[in-house]
Symmetry: C2
Subunit: 399 residues, 2 copies
Amino acid sequence: VRGAGVHLYDVEGREYLDVYNNVPHVGHTHPHVVAAIQRQVATLVTHTRYLHAGILEYAERLTASLPAPLDTCLFVNSGSEANDVAWRLARSATGGNTGGLVFEHAYHGITEAVAALTPSGGRPRDPRVVTLGLPAAQLRAGDTMSDAALRASARDAEQALETLAARGLKPAACYIDSGLTSSGILDPPPAWTATWAGPVRRAGALIVGDEVQYGLGRSGSHFWGFERRGLVPDIVTLGKPVGNGYPMGVVIAPRALVEAFQAKYGFFSTFGGNPVAAAAALAVLEVLGREQLMANARATGEYLTARLLALLPRHPVLESVRGVGLMIGVSVRAHGELPAPRVAKFMVNHMAAQSRVLIGTEGAHGEVLKLRPPMPFGSAHADRLVAAIEAAADALGAL
Amino acid sequence: VRGAGVHLYDVEGREYLDVYNNVPHVGHTHPHVVAAIQRQVATLVTHTRYLHAGILEYAERLTASLPAPLDTCLFVNSGSEANDVAWRLARSATGGNTGGLVFEHAYHGITEAVAALTPSGGRPRDPRVVTLGLPAAQLRAGDTMSDAALRASARDAEQALETLAARGLKPAACYIDSGLTSSGILDPPPAWTATWAGPVRRAGALIVGDEVQYGLGRSGSHFWGFERRGLVPDIVTLGKPVGNGYPMGVVIAPRALVEAFQAKYGFFSTFGGNPVAAAAALAVLEVLGREQLMANARATGEYLTARLLALLPRHPVLESVRGVGLMIGVSVRAHGELPAPRVAKFMVNHMAAQSRVLIGTEGAHGEVLKLRPPMPFGSAHADRLVAAIEAAADALGAL
């Protein structure tokens, strides 16, 4: 019934530590964002057929943080709409190509077009979409990949492209959530990116950087997740955290690409880029800067990772720690009769009920604990989280 | 830069009469809706994975206003997302059928799937979609259609279905914006509906009632536009006015249909149905009731229509008055060298610049003046609007 900072409160006033929600990026009901929304909603809510200073200022601030060719914004209402428009842009830019490439277990949204780009059980339902294999889960920042592993990854990409070609399809776009979140929270080095980005681009596809999960500093090391991957996408999409909960999505692409699309289709979103969305999103950027939340994500992420790694020897059910910043995964092992996904589910429920700590799961079968809190998450919160994980692991041992 | 009730204000403080915007349904910055948003945004913004009383209350209030089988809601962020989900629901319910039927010049949104259901220049770009012909523009409430006209309409629907079948396609859904807004603002009698709804349903397609434009009392005679058409759709979609500008869309369908879809796809929208959306949408329903805005739409619509009809003999450039309630169209004729769409554009611009009255255009070529104000539009506003139309027609005569 109530949220503040990294905490949620139920109807009986009990406090929960929120290690699940990335939408309230700068914290639940952050006063600066709340005030910006309250002020604008009482002043004007209209659309981008009327010029408004707020959306211009936001577009300028946002594109200034992106690589130069990414200079033009289209505003929509969710990450799904952003990925859907990116798909239409890529199809338009490639002369109508219909093939799509995504990573195994990726999630890109809920419209018909992007649901097709969201493989379930690892395999896409739509024959126009093929998957690229994942990097090894144990890779961590600074790790290098062997030449053999890099060659295997490049070969996998070539094979995916051949599969499309064998079906008579040319590729329009390759999507990557740079946090590889729903694929299990992976953090491969830039050398990995080159293995698939090269072949994909040579085949004519555009690369869509889906920053819905990993953008706005979550990695702690880079403001944009694609920078951490050593990649400059052709199109970037934003969603969840961009308005701290105000429904909003953004597509950023080179001006020529957007103008060609507009000339053909006259794209317009009724709510997209309205003055309240602009005020909310601008306030999010301001808070990120003022409160140095990316630096906080790095510091807390390092502290939390060290504490989690120290748990592994004591709790054999905890297998590995993945990710960086405030996007951390802990994969679990099977325990007795319980397969790994059931272990993860037991721990999630135990942590919520006994420790009032909210987390989720990710990975192919839900075997990875997902730790993805609002950005003001500090070391004291990390301590509470680690204690809750230990308590859940202990409870599992006592079953 | 500012809006209040049926007025907008520019950066120099000049007041404009808004006869264009239907998104601020109960009026720009309505205090009751603003307060509801301000309160909730400072309390909690989360998602429907956590139960919240607000969205339950809204869903109950909304479904209570709909025919009994329409008892289950899916919440999304725009009319486009709502129509996209309705398409996925219809495909799922028909076992994967891929054919679509829409009316000529219809508009249903911007995702890839619904852009395909949005014909441009009268003809769809996607071969999986065929169009149904429009009823005669001069039909008004209470008018009857001749048996010959009804037979022709039924034959047209049969032919559209045969076209799909000849392409090897079975129909999944037929969409109707019950205001036939972008088709030119038409108001055919219920007998017309039966001519196409029967054949379409016998062919196995679901009927999607797109209430994005016409729902929530705009016709003045019925709360839902499909009631005015004598139709009970299989799925209903809401968008633009539902949150008075807060980004929101709703899909309402029978429970069994939604549950089968959920079992297969596990549909979830991050922002859809969040507590702020629920608070905004509930406040809209409350204001509609308290301020009797549907009755106002009927009264103002009747007054405005009578005044517009009285203009026709004096201004030959004005051809006909269409529609009902606060969804009124005035088709214009060519004038000298200017074809009708240029006449309409001249009048829109003249009215904005000289009279500070904002309207738009609709119809196949933009030859219909679109009068679609917020719902608190009264007879004094109608007088100002009529004076502005006369001034524009006079200016055209003096060219």
